[in-house]
Symmetry: D2
Subunit: 387 residues, 4 copies
């Protein structure tokens, strides 16, 4: 029997990671055997990318430490240096917080900083959402995180099998489903959009009547092709303008190339003054899912298209190589970064309507499963490859 | 046809890594299609661990950049921070040197800094000596390096198969043999020790007649058990004292626990004043191999015991879990960290004499193979797992 | 007699610092006894603030090293961390470049990184533009730079006296005048603006006929009041809108609060769509001076108002405390951050016209003086306060 | 009236700084209007230099955060980088602790990290022990700290006048005396040494009868002459050996050159096996003062010779330029780093005996004065030079 609660330190380094882990944070916080140490770092702290701190505190979480670590430049060099600063600072944070386990999330470039800071300090490391397959630097980072982690809480059977193939002890690899599906499940029963996006979130750009139908665009730069970020976003911008359908558009994450993407959007707006697009920086996670659920389609390369939309049944036009071979449901249509193709497939998607929902990424109970495992599993920081 | 030479940046972060890569450095330097950019960093710059710069320059290499990055403390926290500093600084070095490929060596904790600095900047990353199996943090670091690297130049068939199982493209995984065997081959024909270690390397401690037989001890702390470092080294110290056989002893690498190891040695010397031990900080790589070749046995947990000694045929008493499941030849006898067991097995080894040599780690031509591959192979920085 | 040229490393960390040192860079480059090692770092590398590298290379300088070091957030915490990263990285750069002296410029927060990296490494440190008086964190940084520096090349008699009072050896404190005046002198004879700002620099916002008269606005946040940055810029924006006079407006430097300033400008543009304002990120130094020379007034809190405009005779409406007690000529009218006051004084300035030019900041030969001193003066790195 | 206690963050970066501030820490901790946030960083955390944490916790203080930041190498390059890491990390610590004021101590190279981390974040900065005069990099650092600080609590009238001359507001410059004298006062009445140094502190080297008289040696490297560190320490070692008088010797601080100093001591011991010297790494502050009070002389270049010994009346042989022009009492005899001179003057000192005590560095009540000022003074973070 343990005589004390386990301290679980979760590091959130970006706005989207918060949505992806929120239900687990809640379950950890409420579990009698666990104490949550929430660290907010990286772009999650920056107004420019939609400061997540307000949302997080409004959701009732208290923050154990904040770490500014994003170096300006949005290029591969600053991504690497940001990671170095993250290692340095997160090490110090863990050293002073003394957690019993650290949770690192998914595959953003800076998540390896969390992994190193924990693994090197002999703190058991839990990796959430490993084992998936994509392109870009994420692919390298995700599997490196797997090799640094001691416990793997994956989101799908496909991912579970892949992590085991990577030489991890099968007992330490558990398919909990994806916590982001937990949020999707919360709002899956709502029949219509009950808030007005313009009113609640401001944003910039044209206003339009979204009640008769709208689409959502979310497109990030691909880090291994970051110099093409502006070209890629312009293909999509021109496509959506020609489509002339009401569109809510989200600014990109901080990544190599996000300056190119933002720049592309900014200059397009200045030159073309598009009347069917409205731009948001950020939205509360549940509202974002409500927006997706009620949209005619999601266009871009966000992993939400493969993940949450599989559960919501929303059609997805997935552009380019960013999601590569990540597990997908029949709601996803892959297209290259090509204006004409994007137009065609988005049109079809709007016409064909919703898909049956799938539970390939879980059935909406991942948060509780994760908390229970963190409370019960044996924690160790030493492992050897299985072959 | 390429119209220019390829710039190959090799990062050496520790004294033993230099020996391990030296023949490849020479081959790269001499290859008409390659330009060597040699970066010396970490403990390789520190007098305390035997500054490698003098050896390196004496060997005819010029150094493109030096990077101090080792944080004092020799504990897991400073290991992690050292790595963070390494990421930050090496990123800047690569950014300014603009290499066509970066080479990261083996599995020391700070080698992941090289890997991240290259991979995140979209510079093709070559990992040398991946695919092996050990215990300790090295195990995590080595396989994480594999997942960050684009090309894998491994030292044995065993390692090649393992890297392929890790989901790497088999065409990018090549068994070159280990460059450290190239050095062993250079001196393998020498019949006796032609230099006097006392004269050439000074050191501290007792002096004795080594010509009638001696052993070598090299024992590093195990990072996942770093708090036991002093206890472990004392078992060995007492064993060797009781054995009362002439012994050349090497100070440990900089690692979590090396303070404990050094401390143990220092206090043992102060209290026990052992008359059969002489201590060295450092030795030129070839001389170290000569010393090994002519010794009755190597005691400790150095990877040289498994690697170079397999080629030299020197008996090895391998203590504890540090080398865990690393590929070994019949010259290696594993023992726990236990004074009595160490005495027994070392005695037997001295009596039984040399073993047949093996080429499990290559036949001594790894450096040239590596240089040729670096000159000819397609360099890319994007990959996806094979399953 | 010296047998070799002296290597002079100049670190430029921001776009405006480049203009301020350019004539000295040229003189150093051309001096037979000197070799220029130009390091470009910080916001001078960032597109967002107008990447200075293109200008610099176009001006014929080659860059010895580039250092990304600006942490995102534009708040006091990220300013401090940026400085820490700067110390770490610039130390490494100097260590590898081995300069005979390092030049640090003026008083931006990150210039102390240059000072520490040089002073701690026993490299003689030359501080340009010390001894002035302002408000804000600049005030602390400037005098701290003075106390770390060995040689002081100041821009005015007033500054020279102050540095001597600070306990520096009078022989090491020399009034060279300000190199920025050298540039002003180059274009002082031109009678009219010979380029079209819209055509040559693009920018965003309204277009207007500037040939009949225009003003220039350049207002930075005050770091000790950074939370008021948005409020302050809005006072000026409203004033200039009401004034309804053609206006070229420059985005702020990267500093604590610059997010607030940029934000204020962006939301003002979105809401008010001002028809008399055009916005630029950056301009080549000489063109910027041409723009100032031909403008009816400079409004804001840029030091160019006190410095270059004293030589050009352009009227200046200097807002708030940022320039505090810095030496000024009669062309400068100080006003608080108050919409009405700004309108009134700007109107008067437009009506009253140009002032006689002054040489309080030098007569336009600073660059050559600086180069000659760097070539001839004794270089040392040890000093003691004079009282 | 304030409605809450003020949080005072004190950063201790080295063992000797702790002794120097201890009485103030105690007074802050006990003051009803103050809350102490104690940060331990740098070499104060390292076993190699005598980990201060045990002493500090034994003294009843709890530690708010620990920061490893010392880069190995003990050379000017690693000193500078250590400072950069310190800025980065301490900024984060202050950001999360949110103190009302930060206290930086004296003039060690890394103290400027504390100053920058506080000043740049607009946290009122209190500098203790400014205004003194020495040689070496300390001289630059101390006065730079003064220019970054808002409140100056100095140790002597001489220092107070100098800080005012440096352009600081006289109301913000207060002579509290030196807190190290508070400790000296605590033990000043004790007639003899009541503990056995060998028994209580172990150490290494010869044992002797100290009851009939002994001297103490403490000699640090001079950072601006760090390459001569070994030469300098050897002069002293040979002098003390020839003197053949019982000697307690302390290892040096971590500084550029301390490797040279330690090395010199180590090789001297190995070669010469001196029978009149015993070596300690560390001693509890009060015991160290007891040792000084009862010694016949202090030899070396420690500031304790000028400071605490002026109050205790112990004769001091002050070697070389490290203390340069620091305020001294008649008990101090300055000598160059010369074996013969050191022997002569130490002999004379032993013969001549104790001096009258002085209160040039205060009368032993500095801690309380400091706490009261921190509780009552107006705290601001903006200032302008007075001339």
């Amino acid at each position: 029997m343990r005589d004390s609660t386990r301290k679980i330190c979760v590091v959130v380094t970006a706005r989207p990671s918060y949505s992806r882990i929120k239900s687990a944070l809640k379950a950890i916080k409420e579990h009698p055997g666990l104490e949550l140490q929430l660290v907010i770092a990286g772009s999650a702290l920056l107004d420019r990318y939609g400061n997540a701190v307000d949302f997080i505190e409004k959701d009732g979480f208290s923050i154990a430490a904040k770490v500014f670590m994003v170096l300006e430049g949005e290029n591969p060099t600053t991504m690497a240096k940001t990671t170095g600063i993250g290692v340095l600072e997160l090490t110090n944070v863990f050293y002073n917080l003394k957690p019993d386990a650290v949770v690192t999330i998914a595959d953003r470039f800076e998540t390896i900083a969390t992994s190193i800071a924990a693994a090197y300090q002999n703190i058991p490391l839990v990796h959430v959402q490993g084992g998936e397959v994509t392109g870009s630097i994420d692919e390298k980072v995700r599997h490196a995180n797997t090799k640094l982690a001691d416990i793997h809480l994956v989101s799908s059977e496909d991912a579970r099998e892949r992590v085991v193939k990577l030489g991890e002890n099968p007992e330490k690899v558990i398919n909990t489903g994806c916590p982001s599906i937990d949020l999707a499940r919360e709002i899956a029963g709502e029949k219509e959009l009950l808030f007005d996006p313009f009113e609640k979130y401001g944003g910039v750009g044209a206003k339009f009547d979204w009640k008769k139908g709208y689409i959502v665009v979310m497109q990030h730069p691909v880090t291994t092709e970051y110099k093409d970020a502006k070209k890629h976003i312009l293909e999509t911008l021109h496509a959506i303008k020609k489509l002339d359908y009401p569109t809510f558009w989200f600014w990109p994450n901080v990544d190599a190339g996000s300056d190119g993407t933002s720049n592309g959007i900014r200059s397009f707006r200045e030159l073309e003054n598009p009347q069917n697009m409205h731009f948001f920086k950020n939205m509360e996670p549940l509202d974002f899912l409500r927006l997706l659920k009620n949209s005619k389609a999601l266009v871009g390369n966000s992993s939400a298209g493969l993940r949450e939309c599989s559960y919501l049944g929303t059609p997805v036009i997935n552009i380019g190589i960013r999601q590569n071979r990540r597990l997908r449901w029949q709601n996803v249509k892959d297209v290259p970064s090509d204006c004409q193709k994007i137009i065609e497939e988005t049109k079809k998607a709007i016409e064909n309507g919703y898909f049956d929902k799938s539970d390939i990424y879980g059935n909406g109970n991942a948060g509780n499963k994760i908390a229970n495992i963190l409370a019960e599993t044996e924690l160790s920081f030493s492992k050897t490859i299985t072959y």
